[in-house]
Structure formats: structure tokens, C-alpha cells
Symmetry: C2
Subunit: 236 residues, 2 copies
């Protein structure tokens, strides 16, 4: 299980900031020397991290730490697509930003004990010029020290890219539970929906390494013109 130890070390390098998002790793021979293992063992460890999109290999160029930019967010974490059109990056408008105590449900989803402080962020996502998604995000204040509305709004990347660049929190996977509901008044107003309308509700827990929960998000989606897409394959 040498390759497991190598993988763990590489993850540590990323979490500690020693290997920054977008930066190149040493070549495989050098890594092999550093860890005192063969190149094949390095490749096995890197193989897994590439499969998880944590690292990115480019033949002839090198191996790089994955950045949570728009492209990666769209293909890995954004599953709302137009019914008969190509996919599109949403326009995100901040609706609310607050700091308060976690509810019991939030604490459970985020693995907190007691009434820890959390940030609560609400966004309305627009597609093709129309409001389509109402997001409520909850994150533990302890994991994102110093976060505030100004810095959050001033970010130049995706929300997950901001978590990664500003707080060293790399989101690597997410679990979602989806159901159909009648829209509630607050979301109806934000999404310009009549009052009984069916909407999709998505509860997502996003995790960083070692399946540690980092974000809880509930999305209300108007699916008159958009679908939630899912591909069933592999599923490790």
C-alpha cells in the first residue's frame, strides 16, 4: 500500500498549500526519488488523483494541481442544463449574506457539534436571462475564517474556486438528494413562479478530502425549461 501513502502525501501538499492550485508537480522521476519509491508507484497514486480530478496530467507538459474554475465546476458540479440547447454557465446574483447559528439539520449535515457559527448565503442563478435556481448555502464559519460579504462578492472565480484559493478548502465530491415539491412563497417570488408550481429541490452536501463535509446547499430549480442530468457509470 505504498501508493496510498504517496497519495496521502500529495493530498497533504495540496491541503497545506505547498502545492498551489494550477501549479505543476515535480516530474514523476523526481517524485519517485523524493518518496523513495519506483515511478510505477508514483503513477498509481497520481492515477487515482487524476481520476478524482484533483490532479490534471498533460502529456509532454507535466502534472498540475486542479483548479476549481468554471470549466471544472460546469462539468463536475453543475447539472442543470437547458432541455434542447447546449449547457451554459449561470449568472450568479447574491441575494443574502448572513452569519448566524447552525440549525440542528445544518449541524448534522456539516458534522458540527452544538450551535456553531455558520455563514448563510443565498443566490439566484440566472440562465438565458431568466432566474431559474434559488440556492441557499450554509458553511461553517470555523472552516472559512474571515469570510465576509465584500470579499465573497469580489471573487473572480466560482464559489468552489473561492473556497479553494482563499481558504484551502478543495471540494472533491458531493452527495445530492433530489425531490419534487410545490414552490414556497420566497422562492416563487425570486423565480417569478405562480403559486402552485412544481419545482425540483436538491439538497447537496459537498465534501473536501476524506469525505469531510464542507458545504450544505439547498437548490430550488424551475424545471420548465431545464433538466437535472445524471450519468450512471462506475460509481466508486
Amino acid at each position: 500500500m505504498l501508493y496510498r501513502q504517496v497519495k496521502r502525501q500529495l493530498i497533504n501538499d495540496i491541503q497545506s498549500g505547498f502545492a498551489a492550485p494550477g501549479a505543476a508537480l515535480p516530474n514523476e522521476k523526481d517524485l519517485a526519488q523524493r518518496f523513495q519509491v519506483s515511478v510505477g508507484t508514483i503513477r498509481r497514486a497520481v492515477d487515482e488523483l487524476v481520476a478524482e480530478h484533483v490532479l490534471l496530467r498533460q502529456q509532454g507538459r507535466g502534472t498540475f494541481v486542479g483548479k476549481l474554475d468554471r470549466e471544472r465546476f460546469m462539468f463536475q458540479f453543475f447539472k442543470i442544463v437547458p432541455r434542447d440547447r447546449p449547457s451554459e454557465f449561470p449568472e450568479v446574483r447574491l441575494h443574502k449574506f448572513a452569519k448566524s447559528r447552525a440549525t440542528q439539520m445544518e449541524a448534522q449535515a456539516l458534522g458540527l457539534h452544538g450551535n456553531q457559527w455558520v455563514f448563510r448565503i443565498e443566490n439566484v442563478l440566472h440562465l438565458q436571462g431568466q432566474p431559474v435556481i434559488h440556492d441557499r448555502i450554509t458553511i461553517a464559519a470555523a472552516m472559512f475564517p474571515g469570510l465576509n460579504q465584500a470579499s465573497f462578492t469580489a471573487r473572480t472565480t466560482t464559489i468552489y474556486g473561492h473556497y479553494q484559493a482563499a481558504f484551502g478548502v478543495t471540494i472533491v465530491e458531493a452527495d445530492e438528494r433530489v425531490r419534487a415539491e410545490l414552490v414556497l412563497p420566497d422562492s416563487a417570488q425570486l423565480l417569478n413562479l405562480a403559486m402552485p408550481s412544481p419545482v425540483l429541490r436538491i439538497d447537496r452536501v459537498a465534501h473536501t478530502f476524506d469525505r469531510k463535509p464542507a458545504e450544505f446547499r439547498t437548490s430550488i430549480v424551475d424545471t420548465r425549461n431545464f433538466d437535472y442530468v445524471s450519468r450512471m457509470r462506475e460509481m466508486t
Copy 2:
């Protein structure tokens, strides 16, 4: 790209029935000799098929052709789970079985040209004793020659297991599009729902090897007590 050729050969062995579901493959050394490659190349090809759940490796015992039994169906293809309970295998009740001409939408989903014959199968799936899912399945008659209601009903395994055992059609992946709708009268009656009720609608295209479409299925789900779950990771 030798390992690609080996993988293709192994898939052919499964599709042709030469390697039957549940049967053991020759050991890695013998495979290496048969294909005139090294064991490492065999391992690489088998690695990928194991990741796709087409093959199953058991240390000390051997490598086996994956069977689409209840366990595999549940963890790979059945994503409707109780909100606060462990998952459960559904009781499937046949509601309709018919042979007719494909609609344009079905023909497109299944990659047919013209008004080919299709089987249309409707099921009601029960969970915890209650009707929860209304399935409409469409499959091309040409891909399932000789299928009839008697043999379909008499199957002793899952529907996908039946495709595999009786017709050599192995489902390996599925694409789904999910949305919220108000239930229509026919589904409302089958699921005992009042008449405006929000339900989940899932359009699924299931594929066999080489992404060849094999089944189109629309599921209407009562999500008052159940969720559609999805895990975002890897996503090759």
C-alpha cells in the same frame, strides 16, 4: 494501446456469450499468453472493466463476469431511496405489456431509424408496501427477439439481468434527465395521488457497450417519502 485491444476482445467474449455472466475468466497469466501480451497489460484492461463493473475481481479466487443481479442493480441503477431509512429493493408489478411502433421520440432515444417495432412495458414499483414509481419502458423489438409477456413475467432476476441472461444485452451505463412536474391522471391513479401533486419525472436512456442505447424509460416518482440520490465524483 495494446490494452485497448485486449479490453475490446474481453467485451466481445461477453457479448458473444463465450464468457457467460457469473463465469470465471482464465487467470491473468493464461490471458497474457492467449493475447501474447504481458500480465501488466492484461491487468490494465481488466482494471478498466472492473471499474465499469463489467468484471469483478476477488483476490485469491479469480475474475468473474459481472451479473446484473439485485445487488448490482440497487447500487448502480436504482437511485430512489427512503428519506430516513435504509434502501430497499422494490416490488415490481407489471401493469401493461404491448408491442407497437416506435414514436419519433422513442426512435431518437434508441437510435432507431423509421417506425421500428418496440416493446412497451409499464410497471408500478412498490416500496414499503406503497406504490411509489410508475415506469414506462421502451425497447427495440429487434434487440430482444422473441420477448413476450409470459417469459418477461417469469423472469427470476432483475429486468436488466433478464436482458443480459436471455438476450446477451448487458446494460453498463445510463443517462438520466430529471425534472419536477404535476402528475398526470394515469400516473396519479396508479400511485394513489391527489390531482395536483408534484412528482419527479426521470427520462433514462440505458446503454450497453460502446454507448449503444438499449432501453428508454420514463419514471414518475412520488417523492413525498423518497429521494432521488446522486453522487458527484470522478465522472469519466
